[in-house]
């Protein structure tokens, strides 16, 4: 049986959420930029799957290519494909959609930090007499 690595899991999700917030900020800032394509990050589950395979870093075409060891770069970003309406200027950012995403990020982050807090308290309960 593998131990539950809650702190590591929580840290990974927090990092994923931060990167997602960064991507959403980019979309919101570029809401009036002609030709800009809205971006989003990969689902957390796919990042988790890759981590469980022990492949955390970016993929490289060749072993000679340099890959970044920045853990933030491990989260892949890709253009949003489904349900986008492209405006006449070629811009595909949907402002309400981005605000909904921000709400999602917020509630997930709250849950994340709350869980870490309570887990930490549980650990402290066992350590302290």
């Amino acid at each position: 049986m593998r131990p539950i690595q809650l702190f590591q899991l929580a840290a990974t999700q927090a990092r994923w959420l931060s990167v997602r917030q960064d991507v959403v900020a980019g979309n919101v800032a570029n809401v009036n930029t002609p030709g800009y394509k809205a971006m989003d990050v990969e689902p957390f589950s796919s990042l988790l799957d890759r981590m469980n395979e022990g492949n955390q870093t970016m993929a490289a075409d060749s072993a000679m290519h340099l890959v970044s060891d920045d853990p933030n770069d491990a989260v892949k970003t890709e253009p949003v494909r489904d349900g986008v309406t492209i405006k006449p200027s070629g811009n595909s950012v949907d402002l309400p959609q981005e605000l909904i995403k921000q709400g999602d990020i917020r509630s997930q982050f709250e849950l994340n930090t709350g869980l870490v807090k309570s887990f930490h308290q549980m650990m402290m309960m066992t350590v302290k007499s």
């Binding site: 917030q21 900020a25 919101v28 009036n32 930029t33 402002l95 982050f109 807090k117």
Partner: protein, 138 residues
């Protein structure tokens, strides 16, 4: 390794900057809606428009926004009959700026909306940071 939340705030700040430039241009257009030329038959004020473009910040790898250039609207001027105006030509016609107040109003509202969205992003990033710091308390 850069902090994505800090990058998010920087990106949103670039958005605020771009939208406030846009608002400045809108107010310039509105203020000059009646600015005719000085000499007979000369061109009046020409409406300005902002052009946005996305730029990659190499330090954080985030896509920021910037005002690429401030262009002028090439559409035709309207003419009104006003022989007493110094800018009137031989027939008494004066060229008026190609500024449409309704268009400017709509532009202003949209700049306002985008500004608010960027502000919301900054608030959110700040709250996420403070939630993380709150882990150290209690």
């Amino acid at each position: 390794m850069s902090d994505p939340l800090q990058a998010a705030m920087k990106v949103a700040a670039s958005g605020l900057d771009a939208q406030s430039t846009r608002l400045r241009i809108v107010s310039e257009n509105m203020a000059n809606a009646q600015s005719t030329g000085a000499t007979p038959g000369s061109d009046p004020y020409r409406r300005k428009v902002v052009d946005f473009s996305s730029v990659l910040d190499r330090q954080t790898g985030a896509t920021e926004v910037s005002v690429e250039r401030i262009a002028t609207d090439p559409s035709d001027f309207t003419t009104v009959y006003d022989p007493s105006n110094p800018a009137a030509d031989a027939k008494g016609m004066v060229k008026m700026p190609n500024v449409n107040m309704i268009t400017e109003m709509a532009d202003m509202r949209e700049a306002n909306r985008s500004y608010e969205a960027n502000l919301q992003t900054i608030k959110q990033a700040r709250d996420l940071v403070s939630m993380t710091i709150d882990l150290l308390r209690s």
